[in-house]
């Protein structure tokens, strides 16, 4: 494939729509007679609803109905299964199903009215009476109740023990043991969760939903309401951020469809920012890491145990401890992960689930071991570098982590670091330099794409993917344009429609590898057809050559290296007697992949500047080198990784969903009290993409970048804070009070 576009820093193809306000998100579709729903949230964390008094609300003219659990009793929902393709094992939450309250701010009613203002006001008039039951929301207090979670689809259990850890620890010249605590965090995408259901006269529904997976939502809704996919289409061309929060259908989509079906109206339901804190979240997690090493720093033993929260109705778990089994070479290891059920909504995937917390603990522990052994932290990593995946007992498809360390260290100027804590100062500020490693798995899921080439030379490609911000529209357009050698202006990629070819949810950093491979395959089928037609032209300049001998470029099929022997795509179509060629592909995953472990890696170096008197922490610069396979678009890729680094700054210094255990409610459920990094918190960020060729990982050689950017950043900053202050803070976020 010639690459006119792949690898080039193309500006986003949807950029214009986003900077002009033309890009429409879920809550932005209008029809006359649209009704508005407002969700009433429970005031308690656990108990039973005794009564819901909606009389006053219903007296207001324009209030259409107040849905409660009483309304779902006689609905005969065709399935009681509210599961979805991302659901962890257990019994999924069913909105308005029964009188039980399972977590604070659970939806207990939906007020529907003729206007937004009226629905919101009416919701304030609803009185709910509860029978309060004792709740438990404190992971620390409940830790002894941890059990092994039921295994989650696609997630192997922690690696089995190996070697003899006790013996190895006894023989270790240097040992480190540390407990690390990480709080609950919320994804907080900027767009509020919202659904607009547009109902046609025949009862057919178009569901505009904020989701990372239109087909996941469609399957969920059709399963619950027993309707056909022809009658319920889910559409989501623009998504205002997801970060995992939109992987599973959220309750507003169920409520909006319920109301639209029952009231036979088009309905919009949007959550408030406060209500979004009652959704999925990154689980509070306790970890313990024990490391033993020889005096030269060689790792002899590693143990990594984690206990995280889950809900009472599902076992959510994530890969927290797995990484410690293969990031470094070590013959003796033990790993475990338990979960504790609390009266909260089920936690879920949030950007780099598992790795974010696990690598924070492991990489802080490695830093502590380096200090103990008197070895430079980077040298310690290199000394224990692993070229073999001990967990899976496989070789890596590619691993350019050494180059990441080398290039990022050089750019950062790591060699100038003075090892002693508190040894680098600038006026009244303590300067600290820290580093860490990042890792994330490179997945490929089965996905489909359809490509349509018309006689005017325009190509339209579609797949039911999402673009929550990484630049899927742009990357897919580049791949399609290059595969058929078309100018990028002639190519349109469409996504976010459940009627398009099958796609997994957008998550796990797998969209480019999965959907991109499908786009390439569909366009390759068109190539074959075009080539056959072009060669069949009488006296064809392509006579006698094979598909492997030609290049598709500038709207032509050319014999490679011979500009004079060419047929235009349009002539090829004309000769074939067609005005359009349409092909669909859903490529099988290569079996060869299974013989290899496939991961992306990174090396992060961070500087902190801490005011000696006030303890305020700034991060003046971060350098991250990424080995993420082939980079389709360096411009959007850089943004994605840079955004991940901003998230790392947030996890290290700002983010924490603070639970008031007396009420079992997150008390800082807004964007003032839940701190996310703002512009003034972010300074110089440098992203380096290390050259990494990988022909095994998928046909495009890409590894995905959505998660890798954040992994390790929290540890690099925490390690820098130690270097600056001599204080080791083992519970996140590192706020100034902890340094006092």
């Amino acid at each position: 494939m010639t690459t006119s576009y792949i690898g080039k820093p193309i500006s986003r193809v949807d950029g214009r729509a986003k900077v002009t306000g033309e890009a429409k998100y879920a809550a932005e579709y209008h029809v006359p007679d649209l009704a508005y729903g407002w969700i009433v949230s429970s005031a308690i964390a656990r108990g039973k609803i005794l009564a819901i008094d909606a009389e006053e609300a219903l007296r207001l003219p324009g209030v259409l109905h107040v849905f409660t659990h009483k309304d779902t009793e006689h609905l005969a929902l065709s399935s009681r299964d509210f599961s979805d393709e991302v659901a962890p094992p257990g019994s999924p939450f069913r909105p308005l199903d029964g009188d039980e309250v399972l977590y604070n701010m659970q939806p207990v009613a939906l007020v529907v009215a003729d206007s937004l203002e009226l629905a919101r006001y009416a919701a304030s008039l609803i009185r709910v009476e509860y029978d309060l039951e004792p709740h438990a929301t404190d992971l620390e207090a409940e830790r002894a109740k941890a059990y092994l979670p039921r295994p989650r689809r696609g997630l192997p259990p922690p690696p089995p023990p190996r070697g003899d850890v006790q013996k190895a620890l006894a023989e270790s010249a240097v040992r480190h043991e540390g407990e690390y605590r990480a709080p609950t965090e919320h994804q907080n995408p900027m767009e509020l969760f919202a659904t607009t259901v547009i109902r046609d006269e025949g009862g057919g529904l178009i569901v505009y939903d904020k989701t990372q997976g239109v087909q996941n939502v469609q399957n969920y809704l059709c399963g619950i309401f027993g309707c056909s996919k022809d009658d319920l289409r889910v559409v989501s061309p623009f998504v205002g951020g997801g970060f995992g929060s939109g992987l599973r259908p959220q309750h507003q989509v169920f409520l909006a469809v319920l109301a639209a079906r029952e009231l036979k109206r088009s309905v919009r339901v949007a959550m408030t920012r406060q209500q979004m804190f009652s959704l999925t979240h990154r689980p509070a997690t306790w970890q313990k890491v024990v490391l033993g090493a020889a005096s030269d720093g060689r790792l002899l033993a590693v143990t990594h145990d984690a206990i995280s929260e889950t809900s009472r109705f599902e076992d959510y778990s994530e890969p927290v401890v797995h990484w410690s089994g293969h990031l470094y070479r070590c013959d003796n290891g033990e790993f475990s992960h338990g979960v504790v059920p609390l009266d909260v909504y089920s936690p879920g995937d949030m950007r780099a689930p598992g790795a974010t917390w696990g690598m924070y603990a492991l990489e802080c522990a490695m830093d502590e071991l380096a200090v103990g052994a008197g070895i430079d932290p980077l040298e310690l990593r290199l000394k224990n570098y692993s070229d073999w995946d001990r967990n899976a007992d496989k070789q890596f498809s590619s691993k350019e982590l050494r180059a990441c360390y080398q290039q990022a260290a050089e750019r950062f100027g790591w060699a100038a670091r003075k090892p002693e804590p508190r040894s680098m100062r600038d006026g009244n500020s303590l300067i600290g330099w820290g580093m860490a490693t990042g890792i994330w798995e490179a997945f490929q899921m089965k996905a489909g794409a359809r490509a349509l080439l018309t006689a005017d030379g325009r190509l339209t490609v579609s797949s039911a993917a999402s673009d929550i911000g990484p630049g899927t529209y742009t990357a897919m357009t580049q791949i399609a344009a290059d595969t058929l050698g078309l100018p990028i202006e002639k190519v349109t990629f469409k996504l976010g429609d459940s009627s398009f070819p099958k796609s997994p949810v957008e998550g796990g950093s797998w969209t480019t590898s999965s959907n991109g491979s499908a786009v390439k395959a569909a366009c390759e089928k068109i190539r074959e057809k075009l080539f056959e037609s072009a060669r069949a032209i009488s006296g064809s300049p392509l006579a006698g050559v094979g598909l492997g001998d030609v290049t598709f470029t500038e709207g032509q099929i050319r014999v490679s290296g011979d500009r004079t022997r060419a047929v235009s795509l349009i002539d090829a179509m004309r000769n074939g007697g067609v005005t359009a060629i349409e092909e669909e592909a859903s490529p099988a995953l290569s079996r060869k992949q299974n013989s290899y472990s496939r991961f992306s890696h990174s090396a992060i170096f961070a500087e902190v500047r801490i005011d000696q008197d006030l303890g305020t922490i700034q991060v003046p610069r971060v350098v991250s080198a990424i080995a993420g396979g082939r980079i389709i678009n360096p411009k959007t890729a850089r943004s994605q990784v840079s955004g991940g680094i901003v998230w790392g700054i947030g996890m290290a210094l700002h983010e924490e969903s603070v639970m008031d255990h007396a009420f079992g409610r997150f008390m800082n459920h807004n964007l003032v009290d839940y701190h996310v990094p703002v512009n003034a918190d972010v300074h110089d960020i440098e992203v380096i993409f290390v050259e990494e060729r990988d022909d095994i990982v998928n046909p495009l050689g890409v590894k995905g970048l959505g998660e890798i950017g954040i992994v390790g950043v929290g540890a690099a900053i925490a390690n820098a804070v130690f270097h600056a202050t001599g204080k080791r803070i083992r519970d996140l976020p590192i706020t100034l009070d902890k340094l006092m």
Partner: protein, 178 residues
């Protein structure tokens, strides 16, 4: 736009709902007359009554800046002001920045510097940045960062945002000197 019940009907039916209020807003140069509840925010008036959904709702509490618009040339959070308080005001939203097909320099700069990902905070960022330059207070990158901190970007596109603002600021300065 909604087919809302007439003000008079509402008043006749119950005393518990105050009457709707007729206001005039000059939005992106066009005079718009609408009837809104006394507690309708400017943000909801734009999004739900005028169909101008380019202005975004991210928190409805003045905490995120996604709803930033220019009112009489000043940047404000449109969720923090009632529509009735802006009766007669001149409002510029993201839809009013480009001139036909020609993007505003700030819009161009945002695309060029990839100063967004999901795009949801973007209209607010751009309106805020246009307002910032009008204010003339920010001179250095750190001042830009500080004075753009009312606009949260959860995708973390801040380095691109600062680069875009600096580019437009630089162009403006050069232009002013000629």
């Amino acid at each position: 736009m909604n087919n809302k019940p007439k003000t008079e009907t509402v008043v006749a039916a119950t005393a518990s709902l105050p009457p709707e209020v007729r206001i005039v807003l000059k939005v992106n140069g066009a005079v718009k007359q609408i009837e809104v509840a006394p507690w309708t925010t400017l943000l909801d008036a734009l999004r739900e009554h005028l169909g101008l959904t380019g202005t975004k709702k991210g928190c409805d509490h003045g905490q995120c800046g996604a709803c930033t618009v220019l009112v009489n040339g000043r940047r404000i959070n449109s969720c923090m002001t009632l529509a009735v308080m802006q009766d007669g005001a001149e409002i510029t939203t993201i839809e009013g920045l480009a001139e036909g097909d020609v993007l505003h320099p700030m819009q161009e700069a945002f695309v060029e510097h990839d100063a967004f990902q999901c795009g949801y905070c973007t209209p607010g960022q751009i309106c805020s940045a246009v307002g910032l330059i009008e204010e003339g207070r920010a001179k250095s990158p750190s001042e830009i960062r500080e004075l753009m901190s009312g606009n949260i970007c959860r995708c973390g596109a801040y380095t691109g945002i600062v680069a875009a603002v600096r580019q437009v600021m630089g162009t403006k300065k050069e232009g002013g000197g000629q």
